[in-house]
């Protein structure tokens, strides 16, 4: 028998869609019906149908050995957090089972149990207790926690007076000192300034070297590659790949996951008879012209849009919006930008392919979305495809971008600077 400390077998989790309050709507329906019959009016009874059930996870099985750091990756909604919640015993699975050996610490969020009116000192105890530490353990680690958080001077101030950075540093410090044989960590590194993030990453690295087992859910491919030895790729609740971290990440990035680098927007028959233009497909090509869902931060990419003009239109434009993973619109561009004189030009019926190049130096690493639109500006919308495609910009570790990652701003362009001497000082 080996050193397996986590074994999950055939784990599945079913959720009911909707607000789970069909009772309420049933009561409403009955009342409305009763009211209608009082007035003598005919009204079709509205009975709530059974809530729709979906499987958030199906047949997930894996083993984790002691000291292993397993990364769990996948798109939003692929079931990563659900899996972690099941292993943390917050919610029971619908099928299957899992065995865990040793003390489990789960960090689904930092600062759970923080109370705004309590002081930093009190909250260290509160948060520690919530995470499962005993008072004696917290006493023992108290100085280390305070030192790590760098908030000594504010220890007796209520945390509601803290800046968000201080709040987060204190919260992470408690979490980082949690002693557990198995740590379940969900995206907590996605917060804080770059310097503190770095500190946390190295702390996490210490953790795995101490022989503790870590399960880490993250969107940050760079930190997964950095910290994990093995990885599990989830897609729509199923395990798509499981094994060495490099292979799984490649699998995730290369398009066998849902980030495929190409989206077909409409089946032919769904076009309305009145429609003048319909968007057909969007794809991302890397610098070697291959369709891909992941872009090297140093190389940039080309966005290609296929659309069909059904009837002749004048003054139309095709536009795209680039959104980053935080939901911020990075830029918006249209095919008329570079040649405004073509505004009055007619587009004759037929299939078109438009493309534009997105410059590499703009991007920071992370997930991006593109929303497509076609319209006659100020007149009418011709077609829309919100969140038509997503792609990842991956930090491959080129020197200049490593530098840029520590900076603020939603884009990280390389801008030319000049400096010249205006006078010299004689010392």
């Amino acid at each position: 028998m080996s050193d397996v400390v986590i074994r999950a077998k055939n784990i599945g989790k079913q959720y009911a869609l909707g607000d789970g309050q069909h009772w309420r709507r049933t009561v409403h329906a009955h009342l409305r019906e009763a009211f209608a019959s009082c007035r003598g009016a005919e009204e079709t009874p509205v009975y709530e149908t059974e809530n729709k059930l979906i499987w958030a996870l199906t047949g997930v099985s894996f083993d984790v050995r002691r000291g292993e750091v397993l990364g769990i990756i996948g798109r939003n909604g692929s079931g990563k957090s659900t899996l972690l919640k099941i292993l943390s015993r917050i919610t029971p699975p619908t099928t299957g089972w899992a065995d865990l050996v040793g003390r489990v610490g789960s960090l689904l969020e930092v600062g759970t149990g923080f109370h705004p009116d309590l002081t930093g000192r009190d909250n260290i105890y509160m948060n520690g207790a919530v995470l499962g530490m005993t008072k004696r353990e917290i006493d023992r680690q108290f100085d280390a926690i305070v030192a790590f958080s760098e908030i000594e001077t504010f220890l007796d101030t209520p945390v509601k007076r803290y800046s968000s950075g201080m709040h987060m540093r204190l919260a992470f410090s408690v979490a980082a000192h949690l002693k557990a044989d198995i740590l379940l960590v969900d995206e907590v590194l996605a917060v804080g300034d770059a310097a503190f993030q770095q500190k946390c990453l190295s702390k996490m690295d210490d953790v795995s070297h101490e022989g503790r087992t870590v399960l880490l859910v993250s969107h940050n491919i760079a930190s997964i590659l950095n910290l994990c030895s093995t990885a599990l790729l989830l897609d729509r609740g199923e395990v798509l790949a499981y094994g060495g971290v490099r292979n799984v990440v490649d699998h995730y990035l290369s398009g066998s996951s849902s980030v495929q680098g190409e989206t077909q927007l409409y089946p032919q028959q769904e076009v309305l008879p009145s429609q003048e233009l319909s968007l057909r497909a969007i794809r991302i090509r890397d610098s070697r012209d291959c369709v891909t869902g992941s872009i090297d931060v140093a190389r940039g990419c080309t966005v290609e849009v296929d659309y069909v003009v059904h009837r002749e239109i004048r003054g139309g434009q095709v536009s795209l919006e680039l959104w980053n993973g935080e939901g911020v619109c990075v830029l918006c561009t249209t095919d008329l930008d570079s040649c405004p004189e073509s505004r009055s030009m007619a587009r004759l019926p037929g299939l078109y392919r438009a493309s534009c190049r997105l410059e590499p130096t703009w991007f920071r690493a992370g997930r991006y979305w593109i929303s497509l639109g076609a319209s006659i500006p100020g007149v009418r919308v011709l077609d829309e495809a919100p969140h038509a495609i997503s792609f990842d910009v991956v930090d491959t570790g080129s020197v200049e971008h490593k530098l840029a990652q520590g900076r603020r701003g939603i884009i990280a362009p390389t801008i030319k600077w000049n400096a010249r001497s205006l006078s010299t000082v004689n010392s």
């Binding site: 400390v5 865990l100 149990g113 109370h115 499962g132």
Partner: protein, 302 residues
């Protein structure tokens, strides 16, 4: 072959119903492993699990108390002012204006002796029934025995009771009321009050997390309950043949019991108390069962 794993901590070895030891399972990785399983139909109470998390229980109660009178000028004085002001209001309206009979006891003392257990009940009930909803950020993020939350929510009611007790003692001395031997029965009546409140509170909190209607209905129900309890009026206003039936409301027995223990009025026990005891026990046990039965899905419905 046994693994040389570090000793599992006590809180992991003793766990709630959803988890059982896996020593006899062929797939098990270790005899000391704990197992996560789908919803279990009949849960145990899980005393050992609660015991293992007693420090969290203490911290949650401590947090509630510490935050209670935070950023107030009068601070803990509020716990004294509230029962005092209620005694004044009741004494003016019922004792003085309506000349409510009070079994020969000075009216302010008569009403305070009942307000004390009533407030214990009402605070415990409202505290426990809202506890899950106000702590849902914990429930959806961390595991611990869920019973910890309503239990820790009783701290405020108990603390306020303790402070109001000092007011009562001061008034007993002011009116030169002699101390009777049956005063030793007070803790038992407190227990009856807490068991009733916790029983209803467990039902209400577990229902409230799914249907917030409970939270809206409860203050109203508590108000009705208050008038169904002989706090402002003596039970002697009710025909004696009905007294036993009055025991359906355990709080009536508690209030009568308090007055009996303090002033020697009434009988303090009898059929009414026996009736109340069983009602209260039923409420408590069924509440506990319902809570344990539904707690596994709290995180999904919160």
């Amino acid at each position: 072959m046994q693994l040389s794993m570090p000793q599992a901590s006590p809180r992991m070895a003793h766990h709630s119903s959803a988890v059982m030891t896996t020593g006899d399972n062929p797939d098990s990785i270790d005899a000391g492993a704990f197992r996560i399983l789908p919803l279990q139909p009949v849960p145990a109470i899980g005393f050992r699990d609660i015991w293992a998390y007693r420090e969290l229980l203490y911290f949650l109660a401590w947090r509630d108390l510490k935050v209670r009178y935070h950023q107030t000028i009068l601070g803990i004085l509020w716990a004294v002012l509230k029962p005092c002001s209620m005694v004044i209001v009741f004494s003016v309206f019922f004792g003085w204006l309506s000349r409510m009979p009070s079994d020969g006891i000075p009216y302010p003392l008569f009403v305070l002796s009942a307000l004390l257990p009533w407030q214990l009940f009402a605070h415990t009930l409202s505290g426990t029934s809202h506890s899950l909803v106000s702590n849902q950020h914990l429930i959806t993020k961390v595991y611990f025995p869920r019973l910890i939350i309503p239990i820790s929510a009783m701290a405020i009611g108990l603390a306020d009771f303790g402070i109001a007790l000092l007011v009562l003692v001061a008034m007993l001395m002011y009116y030169h009321i002699p101390i009777l031997p049956q005063i030793l029965a007070i803790p038992l009546f407190m227990l009856l009050s807490i068991a009733t409140a916790l029983g209803v509170g467990l039902w209400a909190s577990a229902l409230n997390i799914r249907h917030r209607d409970i939270g809206h209905a409860l203050p109203f129900v508590t108000q009705l309950w208050f008038f169904a309890t002989p706090v402002a009026y003596p039970i002697s206003l009710i025909p004696a043949s009905w007294h036993a039936w009055y025991g359906i409301n355990p709080m009536a027995s508690v209030v009568e019991g308090f007055r009996w223990a303090l002033f020697g009025t009434g009988e303090g026990g009898g059929h009414m108390l026996i009736f109340s005891f069983f009602i209260s026990l039923t409420l408590f046990l069924s509440g506990l069962y319902f809570f344990r039965r539904t707690e596994q899905t709290f995180a999904d419905v919160a």
